[in-house]
Amino acid sequence: MAECHPVGFQWVMEAKERGATVIHVDPRFTRTSAVSDVHVPLRAGSDIAFLGGLVNYVLTHEKFFREYVVAYTNAPAILREDFADTEDLDGLFSGYDPDGRRYDHSTWAYQGAVAAPATGEHSTEEEVGQPEEDAHRVTRRHHGGPEHREAARAEAYGSGGPSVPFKPELDPTLEHPRCVFQVLRRHYARYTPEVVADICGISTEQFRRVAEEITRNSGRDRTTAFVYSVGWTQHTVGAQYIRTASILQALLGNIGRPGGGILALRGHASIQGSTDIPTLFNLLPGYLPMPHAGEHLDLDSYTAADVGKAGFWGNMRSYAVSLLKAWWGDAATADNDFCFDYLPRISGDHGHYRTVLDQIAGTVKGYFLMGENPAVGSANAKLQRLGLANLDWLVVRDFSLIESATFWKNGPEIDTGEMRTEDIGTEVFFLPAAAHTEKDGTFTNTQRLLQWHHKAVDPPGDARSELWFTYHLGRIIRDKLARSTDPRDRPLLDLTWDYPTEGAIAEPSADAVLREIGGVDAGGNELAAYTQLRADGSTRCGCWIYCGVHADGVNQAARRRPGRDQSWVAPEWGWAWPANRRILYNRASADPDGRPWSERKKYVWWDAEQRKWVGADNADFEASKPPDYQPEPGARAQDAIAGAEPFIMQTDGRAWLFVPTGLADGPLPTHYEPAESPVDNPLYRQQANPTRREYPHPANRYQPSDGAPGSEVFPYVFTTYRLTEHHTAGGMSRTLPYLSELQPEFFCEVSPELAAERGLDHLGWATIVTARTAIEARVLVTDRVRPLRIRGRTIHQIGLPYHWGGNGLSTGDGANELLPVVLDPNVYIQESKAATCDIRPGRRPRGPALPRLVADYRRRAGITEPTGEDGTR
């Protein structure tokens, strides 16, 4: 965090000064480790073992917060008899289809689960409840093939998640052998300190120290917070890393309470915002799922699954209609389904890496790159460039000519002869972009806090904001289409594209956009909160979770009342979604009767006299719903949530220790080795995540793992990361002298032991080789990197900062060139934090000798098309 988020890290340092214990769990010894109380240098890719060990510790030592767990989590829920755990199936859950390498979720459901009646993709039960053969038939009928069926999985849920029956059967004693608690206990029983030490390469003392610290600091009087970044997400089991932390935090009672939680630090400023109002193919604003072609024929079929739900997702139709009204205004009416047909549809995986392969296949013809440099920043950068080189047109908006804009003349493949400039037909448009200091707008941070930034100076020359570019592009296209009578142009022509502009360059008003996002009623009055949204078309709101950000006609995100002038929660600094709530699910900060768990940690509580929830924050609960409220049979949406069920977005109002449906790779996190690992999985016969997504391609070869023939050719683990001095793929830093001089060259970090083993000299050159390519780096030999003892062997790790490419002041090879494209099956993120390689002294070959070297490695490792695709040993 100190390394990549030094400004935010000031609060950690402040907490430390106030007595907080700071624990850093990271393969790397970073600037964070330097100031932490404890650093645990575990092997890259072993975090689920570590966290699973902590879960086991909490359960075996009875350190969990029992009242919280019984009342607020699904620990007491009873599962079906035919559910089989990884304990029973040696690393697989019940429902695995080895041919399709995916799961049928039906056996993961709560006991007594009935198939949801809805027709939407949220109702996976409908499909997966069938025998396998039938399921395929149903799938084909509805989705047009297995590929499309995949799109109806994790990516299709939005944040509403899949439906489950309103209330599971519960055993509050937690004794029932098939209750979640007992399943959890059995699942993690083998994650002992000794096994954790063996997998992670740490000492049992290091593990126990962390276990003792976090359990001592959790409970009624104390809370512990987890902070993670892409070191957790960029794995083939990335979503399950976060799930493990969720289980741990729920067991310890650290969710919905001050000082608790799990905080995601994003790659750079406002990535949270670009997830809330997404640049993702499968989501609409506010985590509404993107409609699916063939499945969502109209608004009714799109919303049907959610309309029946308990919890606030039960109002999903109001959120969707208000969004459609914000976009298409008066053109959106009840008679035309509020222009639902105008929305684009997905038909399968259209994620980043799938799109690149589609570019190579020639089915994707055009590409916008706005502040993204995939020729440096994405896994297997060669694959990226092969895609870029096969486009008709490419628009690059950035501060400078990044590698993704110049690949056609100076990419690595030009040097090796694998591409020739004269063969590349891509027409590249470079448009200079304004920096954040040159435009108005918001940043949304990890706590969902929106903070407005004001333009300080005008952008130089032709540089323009994204808002300017997008607005005027739309305006020009609409002008060109103005006389069109073609119905396919109606979605563009009917858009509410009426933002006021200001100044000499006609900059659209960012405040007007924020107002549209914040929502208005039929009279044009700004809304205060999402609870005011209606499904009848009387409200407009560009993102339901942001509803209220412009309440009272005030840009709430621009509020800067100093903390000393208000309560310690500081509700008048910026604005947090939803409804300016600073802690989500904060009903959990009080006990089931509505009393604070402790005086020290009191946050919101039930005031019996006023008959409402009061406290330091805006309660994340219906203000007047008493703790003893019980829903009537047949109640819907929030009315179906009882007064002691804090997790109001969940259909059962509870935090899910066990996920009964919705995840592609299992209801409980399980340690799998990275797709490329030098060691075996000591826990199960199943080596790697069986459902990980692979994209075999001649330029994307996978390496053998764990003692399979050829794996000895790539004996070392490498992990990629960032340095404080540079920004991601370098577009914002490698062109600046003051930053470039601070980290002037690409380097690799190795231990003295590895340097001795491979003859690497400090400040000399090394060549790092994978089945994808070979790159060169200067060598930093440092005690901060240490060999690990794993499975009885010494394992060396190599650290590679990934900022470099061929352009700018500070240049070098890109670490991401080495990575395979192999993805988490839930969110399609690449495994860039753990893979295997070889390292040798000296510079890499130039020209055609480079691919020859890589080909030689592939031959020695016996790599053929299917290598690495079998997750079982």
Partner: protein, 310 residues
Amino acid sequence: MTTGHTGTTGTTWRDRLAGPLADPAGEAGHADGHPPRMGFFTDTSICIGCKACEVACKEWNGVPDTGLDLLGSSYDNTGALGANSWRHVAFVEQRVPAERVELGMPGIGAPEQPQRAETDDAGVRWLMSSDVCKHCTHAACLDVCPTGSLFRTEFGTVVVQEDICNGCGYCVPACPYGVIERRESDGRAFKCTLCYDRLRDGLEPACAKACPTDSIQFGPLDELRERAERRVEQLHDRGVPEARLYGEDPDDGVGGDGAFFLLLDEPEVYGLPPDPVVTTRDLPAMWKHMGMAAVAAAAGALAAFLGGRR
């Protein structure tokens, strides 16, 4: 916001060149009522090595970059303070016992042990520290400057005026810390000004403003010294006995620094001189010796002349 302004009364020649001096600005001729002496307290125990100070300094002061040079000195590619680096973050990697407290094991590890993950107690410590011009109470650079380019500001800081500097370079060897340096491109001497322009506008220096953890603290030197004493006590109470101040003592060889530090190891570890002495401390004695020598020479010459007459 007060310092004991004593003016020049009672100050001896010697006090002006070395030893404690309550009010360097007053001593330099700034009238009574001048601002209190301002300085930096750099608490390296909370430095996270982000180098924001280095960049903010260069941005604000228009200091040139130093080029692309991978030094291999941990994450430090600046190397040292100089004409083009007025803040410098040092990175010190040390092997130390990993779990000093809880295991009760002896401090020295056995790095060659094959079972190191279980038994080896050698961990790594990574010290970071942002160095800067010390703005000495007795600034030799200023004392030797023949043009008056270097001067003592009303804030008690030491500033070099680039439009007056003639590039003679006398100040360079005079500095006991090796801070001031001539810029190769134009020959003139440059160093930290403690953002004199910002101070005059009531702003804090750029480095302190940019420091996210308040490792670099700016303020009246008296207050900083008190705060630093408390901080050291606090760290000692927390089991960090190695915490110590550097450059805060008015009795040291430079009369105390206007920019002083809290360190977690010996000064040498950070590349700082352990016992800096103002190089002009002995100037009076030298003048005396030189005067005596001159008299002797003159007497000799006279004697020779007189002798010649004989």
